[in-house]
């Protein structure tokens, strides 16, 4: 269905870059701090999608048995680490926003 709309031009890497740009745009136009945190998460999702799709081999197999045609497992594992950092930073940003709101009231 998606391919019929995009005519086969949209692959995962391109989608990732588009998400990244949407995130940047959101960060430029939103004044609300919570929306900014959401925008930066959209941006990070774009980066994850871009990076994970780098390991893609069309028709590739699960990387369990060596010497078969398999996808590259490294990008996915690296993104697992980045996801953890993303969660930690989001939590930190939200905690800071809460504290600032408390201070203002």
């Amino acid at each position: 269905m998606i391919e019929s709309i995009t005519g086969g031009y949209l692959n995962a890497e391109l989608a990732g870059v588009i998400l990244l740009l949407i995130g940047l745009y959101g960060l430029i136009i939103n004044r609300d701090l919570i929306k900014q945190v959401i925008s930066i998460n959209v941006l990070s999702t774009g980066v994850f999608l871009f990076f994970t799709s780098l390991g893609h081999v069309s028709g590739g197999n699960v990387p369990l048995i060596m010497n078969t045609d398999m996808v590259d497992p490294l990008p996915a594992t690296l993104m697992l680490t980045t996801l953890v950092i993303d969660v930690a930073e989001t939590a930190l940003a939200l905690a800071l926003i809460l504290r600032m709101r408390e201070d203002e009231e």
Partner: protein
């Protein structure tokens, strides 16, 4: 054995978090903290004689494993962070003492494990030779330093911390994006392997540009410095010393890795422009400040410009040496000024005075001469090496920067030294003064060791600086107050982030267009 340099502080940080979660005596955490701070020293010294030491973790081949290395490239970075963390560690023992007051600094229970975490992140990023691993350690260091800034009781510390976090968050993800591009073109993230298979293509160039803009943001260099002055001035004194002294060197080391293992000749002109504008802008803003910590923070912006100049002239060792020099004297300055601030309870230059404290006065004079680049102190050595790569117009700009730095620090010394006042507030243990004094002594010793010459030109520069200082004082330049462009509430903070992101994107686009077309 070198992985232990990272692992030991990390282990002690973990122990510190566990112990502080229970109702434990403060001395237990202090001893864990001190053990963590001094634990990397023996391993570093034992390995010093057989450089370069390289090891791949877990005994894997280079293609599969993570490589760590210790050599001339990172020797000065690691030595600098070990010295600064050891001295700041001793300093913070008395600084974070729980004195029962509500407004005082937060007790060490919360701070000490975080400082150890920062320590291990910083040492890790200086040791690693793997692009993704470098990113991980840089994140460990920056998250812990963001929390350390947020822990401060100063007004506006949370805002500073949020600004710091958002810009780091943004630049980190663009850095990962560039790592992705490098990975898809090279098929590896190990720097040695990248060097062996390097083919410069447009994609690799674009990736390096994006990575460098992220590094410039993280190092707090001029067009993207916004987070730095507020974060460095609002943090507690030991934390400011660590942030200004060591944390900003991590992205610089990243640039040096790229410079050493790939080719960045195409970036020379933009880096040169950024470096000089940062030097001059930082000094200009520092001249206008009356908050002493803000003044030092703006000098970090300008000094990072000098370090970047070393990168722009493709001279790895000039950048490393000047970064080392800056690590020592900036941390020393923050510590020395911090003693006065906690004694007198103000950050305003007009109210602060060193009184009759001769130890502190001596340290301040030595440190200000060192940051001004006067020989034979440590700043002169790095500046001498950077100058080798400059010519023509940039030569004069460089000396303008030196004079400006001297003017600004003559102002600092002039305002602090008031011999008539013998006002001494509440008693602060003199360990803090001694650590600042040791820092000053180290800048002299390392300076004489590296560059045992006396340059007559420095005297001329000092003369010009004194004349300029008198002129500026006459026209009341130092009394100008900076206007605030953003409202001081949450909405104002939101628009600040909007503006900073737009500038970040603009810088990225400009450099990309310059390099690719």
């Amino acid at each position: 054995m070198i992985p232990l340099i990272i692992v030991l502080p990390l282990l002690f940080a973990f122990c510190g978090f566990v112990v502080s979660a229970f109702e434990s005596h403060e001395n237990h955490i202090k001893s864990i903290f001190l053990m963590g701070i001094f634990s990397p020293w023996p391993i570093f010294i034992l390995n010093m004689n057989d450089y370069p030491v390289e090891t791949v973790l877990g005994g894997w081949s280079r293609i599969a494993g993570i490589e760590l290395g210790l050599g001339m490239l990172n020797h000065y970075f690691i030595l600098g962070s070990l010295i600064v963390f050891s001295l700041v560690g001793v300093y913070s023992l008395s600084y974070f003492e729980d004195d029962g007051q509500k407004d005082g600094p937060i007790p060490g229970k919360r701070m000490f494990p975080l400082i150890l975490l920062l320590y291990s992140g910083i040492l890790g990023s200086f040791l690693t030779r793997d692009l993704f691993n470098f990113y991980i350690y840089m994140e460990i260091a920056s998250i812990s330093s963001i929390i350390l800034v947020a822990c401060s009781n100063a007004e506006g510390a949370k805002r500073a911390s949020y600004r710091y976090l958002m810009l780091f968050f943004l630049s980190s993800f663009l850095f990962i994006f560039s790592i992705g591009i490098i990975y898809v073109k090279m098929g590896t993230l190990n720097f040695e392997l990248i060097e062996q298979n390097l083919v410069m293509s447009r994609e690799i160039k674009a990736a390096i540009v994006i990575a460098f803009v992220a590094f410039i943001t993280k190092a707090g260099v001029f067009p993207l410095y916004f987070w730095l002055p507020s974060a460095h001035s609002k943090a507690d004194t030991p934390v400011s010393a660590l942030l200004s002294g060591v944390t900003v060197k991590v992205p610089i080391f990243g640039m040096l890795l790229f410079l050493e293992y790939t080719s960045i000749e195409f970036l020379t002109v933009p880096l040169m422009i950024v470096a000089f504008s940062s030097i001059l802008f930082g000094i200009g803003m520092a001249l206008l400040q009356s908050n002493v910590k803000k003044l030092l923070a703006y000098h970090t912006v300008s000094q990072m410009g000098y370090v970047l100049l070393g990168v722009a002239t493709l001279n790895v060792f000039a950048a490393a040496h000047y970064a080392f020099a800056h690590t020592l004297f900036k941390a020393g300055l923050f510590l020395a000024v911090g003693v006065l601030i906690s004694k007198q309870g103000t950050k305003d230059l007009d109210d602060l005075t060193s009184g009759n404290n001769t130890v502190l006065m001596f340290s301040l004079i030595v440190l200000t001469l060192a940051i001004g680049g006067v020989s034979p102190l440590i700043g002169a050595f790095g500046k001498h090496e950077i100058l080798l790569g400059l010519s023509g117009m940039s030569f004069y700009l460089f000396y303008m920067g030196s004079i400006g730095t001297l003017v600004s620090f003559i102002k600092l010394d002039y305002k602090l030294f008031d011999l008539s006042v013998k006002h001494l507030g509440k008693f602060i243990p003199s360990v803090q003064e001694i650590t600042a004094f040791i820092m000053a002594l180290l800048t002299v010793l390392f300076g004489i060791y590296h560059y045992p010459k006396f340059n007559l030109l420095d005297l001329a520069l000092m003369g010009i600086a004194v004349a300029l200082f008198l002129l500026f004082k006459h026209i009341d330049l130092f009394e100008k107050n900076m206007p605030h462009y953003f409202s001081r509430d949450v909405k104002g903070l939101g628009s600040e982030i909007n503006l900073y992101t737009s500038i970040f994107v603009l810088v990225n686009l400009t450099v990309l267009i310059y390099v690719l077309y």
